[in-house]
Symmetry: C2
Subunit: 285 residues, 2 copies
Amino acid sequence: MNRPELTLPELTASGRPATFEVEAINERGEAVSTPIAGEHPLTIYLDKRELVTLMTLGQAPEALVLGYLRNQRLVPSIADIAAVQVDWDTDSAAVTTRRGIDNLDGKMSKRTVTTGCGQGTVFGDLMEEIDSIKLREDVRLSEDALHAMLDAVRRHEAVYKTAGAVHGCALASVNADNAEILYFVEDVGRHNAVDAIAGKMWLDDVDGSDKVFYTTGRLTSEMVIKAAQMRIPFLVSRSGLTKMGHDIAARIGITMIGRAAGGKHYLLFTGRERFVKSISPTEIV
Amino acid sequence: MNRPELTLPELTASGRPATFEVEAINERGEAVSTPIAGEHPLTIYLDKRELVTLMTLGQAPEALVLGYLRNQRLVPSIADIAAVQVDWDTDSAAVTTRRGIDNLDGKMSKRTVTTGCGQGTVFGDLMEEIDSIKLREDVRLSEDALHAMLDAVRRHEAVYKTAGAVHGCALASVNADNAEILYFVEDVGRHNAVDAIAGKMWLDDVDGSDKVFYTTGRLTSEMVIKAAQMRIPFLVSRSGLTKMGHDIAARIGITMIGRAAGGKHYLLFTGRERFVKSISPTEIV
């Protein structure tokens, strides 16, 4: 938020409705109108070159496209992007850069396909990058702020509550005993929700180094890597984690909390030194 | 099961342990040993050419590789595959074909990246193929068999119950009032679990055209397409569905049931003519 003035890209504002109604027959034989989550293909063209087709809920498609380009390390700076134009008639997002992208062929050819959810995508040097990441050591997350954030997240989960079948992600800022949700994005894919948050942070020049990243999804390797790439020291999930997610989190030293599903339960796995437990009344003598 | 004799591929049997124990601190400040799901990279080489890196639980890696090649339409027949050798020292699966693969470059270059979970993978002509698929109309799924299958699935969900963070898939055969689970696979990725089942079906020459496919995951477009590619007329999920999953299911005419989460609840969406509701006692006069 304190970067020098730069010209931000021109963006369409082509969010789609999040839910649609279809008819189903329930176990009592009754026809019931049922809300279901939207899912739309969105093909990204970077300077007219086809990159990828994402399936998305379509709530924040421009931010999703920006975050995808950022997290895949295809575009170094948001200042390089002149425009993102999302057109649902053609299910396409046309990205125009100001000066072209150096070595796009090289970046594309190194593209590998890995996953957290099964078959996600990362490009080239992503895994090699993680060892160079240093997360801030001078920031803390208190137990009270954690609970405040989880309460706030629950108030945001609109599509999930209505239609299910989506993952939610949030970026929160915290102080000693409270939390504020800066962004909340739901999508049919976990990776898309993360990428859309990354896109919003890029646009708004938000520094992740003292923030909390929350996801409803599982903490797989790719999720931990994406949080670390955004320099975020706190990663919280309602769900569980995988061994590789855990191993990478331990290596990076990210403060990772899983199974924060409501009530007061949670499990603190790695980066414990940044977490501050509240003193419970029974401990005060 | 009634194909002419053919030589099946040689396979390693390199399943990995499904869960690992790590220490976490719970909300009471206690150190607790916590089982978490495994997650391992597995890079597939087809005749020494690198195809993809999947992140997998690793329970049935050879079947996963076979199913991946089958569902991506990279190898036309299992008779074309001489061997699948999974080696966890190098996190690799070496696939050797008997005569090479025609036009592998063409198939690879048409590779696009779409998704159900966010950023999954499909190759080339997958979407175009679906309109040519005809599912059997002369098969039925009864409500009793549905409930019997859901009960059986619950007895299989070992990793999910222990560690969470995985999706389960099952293939079941059903008769008028009962169900038998033929395969059950859990993986960190939904797509992997589906592919592993497809690989087992390929190996055992199991015909999907009267079977039920169950998944804990959401019914997205890619999930529906994969079931239809296996000619499976019944698709059941514990979770919800997306609009595109619904639209493709309606177009193919697959019998799709969602929200079958336990108890007696379910929602029947498409292909309703294949579903036979039990007559409840109150309806018998």
